[in-house]
Symmetry: C2
Subunit: 261 residues, 2 copies
DNA sequence: TCTGGTCTGTAACCGACAACACAGAGGAGA
DNA sequence: TCTCCTCTGTGTTGTCGGTTACAGACCAGA
């Protein structure tokens, strides 16, 4: 069963060789599955209201599984049947056009919940999700969600709130993309990415992303992103190193992000 | 009380003269308020599961009010305290940047529910909503929603589904904006706008929008929109008249909408 | 019927960003 | 240490769509 899944993962849903991936990654169909109930759901905001007992009950129906770097969690050929909770690692959710260009919707960190689109039933939903590093997920089936989560008002409210926030974020991104030049979008994106993070005592925030990954979020090319990043660096707002970005002056970046030209 | 509201509406939330509005509209602070319970909520999908009695109970706490063309329903200076149900007329929800450029998030038709952002609590939320024709709305307060709606699993599920659909639509729009050229975006937008509509027996769909309003949805200029519209018309896919667009060949438009260059 | 405001069509110019094309730099593994 | 691959920096050229500037068409009200 798990092997079947892995096989589907390897089969590219588009013709050719996973055109959305920055680079080819080796695919090894070996899968490590873990079964450790009782620790999947703690520290997830969605379930903050629940007692340990209730948590354990839900946890019991949520199997875990690890994904290797580059492995797909879901795709068009492998639609979403579950709500996922990210325990460790990072996941990139993205969309792809016919000609292979991609836009990433989000890069998720531990504690995140995703796969909410199963809520919308039959609607065509063509997001992809891939692990961008070694990742551990646990999943709740649709029926579990509808029966145990949405029927509980405490959780229903949190789910709605979560979705509402997602709507707000998306609207924000949409206007940014439509109305702001690249540099402003880059600044605002970096600030947003740094937000959830507890900043070190120096007041600095570190983001682990390559220019390529950033470009995916911005809806632009790697080259343009690099250029804009150099700009920010030369203004002293960020410091860069391979795959790492340090925000030095968040207020200034925030100001920049509302520039309109 | 209502007069106060009207006064706030007239006061421009940005400096100057409502820069987002296509053209100045006269503002008359007279307000007509209606009080007709028992008919606000029928025919709204959200409440489909409720019995007539339950409907009536909720309806009783939902006052109605009319808005004149061009009048603001909410804005930054007048934040959202309620969930709105659109009974008649049309409402445009949009965002504005500092320099007055606007992107419209949605143009709503009767039966639509909006204002879900009150769900997200303190989060800064800077959408505007204006009536683009004579409009009748009724509103449910935040507390009502949390106590009577989210606590009812039947409705909670529908709310989540509704928000989930909104997320999906926004993600779609975001990728379109990022990855597709104007003509394709226009085609897909027109198809989407025509979707909910029951088409006439000829198979044609009519959309009542000006180029300017379309441009607002597309995140582009009126001129570019006109150009693209002419293109579509010359291909025989649509027919135009002042403020009205007739879709002649939906399949072809759909095909066009997935073009990537 | 006239008039002013609102829509729509068109065209020349220009600017931001995509596409393409390399070059160098940092890291990981042999 | 050497090698390979990924990541980053930068230039050149092309193009889509924004900007600016009008003109004609439709419509409502005087």
């Amino acid at each position: 069963m798990i092997d079947q899944c892995a096989a589907n993962v390897v089969a590219a849903p588009l013709s050719g060789q996973r055109p959305w991936a920055p680079t080819q990654r080796e695919s090894n169909p070996l899968v490590s599955a873990t079964d450790e109930p009782f620790n999947c759901l703690s520290a997830v905001e969605l379930f903050a209201d629940l007692s340990p007992d209730e948590l354990a009950a839900i946890d019991r129906m949520a199997p875990s599984r690890t994904y290797r770097t580059g492995e797909l969690v879901f795709s068009q050929s492998q639609p979403v049947h579950a709500l996922f909770v990210l325990q460790s690692g990072r996941v990139r959710v993205f969309r792809v056009t016919e000609d292979g260009k991609a836009l990433t919707m989000a890069i998720l960190e531990p504690g995140a919940v995703f796969g909410e689109m199963m809520l919308v039933g039959q609607r065509m939903y063509d997001n992809y999700a891939e692990a961008i590093e070694e990742t551990l997920l646990c999943e709740l089936s649709v029926t579990d969600v509808e029966q145990h989560l949405l029927s509980d008002p405490r959780i229903a409210i949190r789910i709605s709130r979560h979705l509402g926030e997602q709507v707000a974020r998306l609207e924000e991104r949409l206007t940014d993309l439509a109305l702001r030049p690249l540099l402003a979008r880059l600044a605002s994106t970096l600030v947003r990415l740094g937000e959830p993070q507890r900043r070190s005592r120096t007041g600095h925030v570190t983001i682990r992303l390559t220019h390529e990954q950033l470009a995916g979020l911005l809806g632009t090319t790697r080259e343009s992103t690099s250029k804009a990043m150099s700009d920010l660096a030369s203004r002293g707002l960020i410091r860069q190193s391979r795959g790492r970005i340090v925000l030095l002056d968040v207020p200034a970046m925030t100001a920049l992000s509302t520039a309109t030209a």
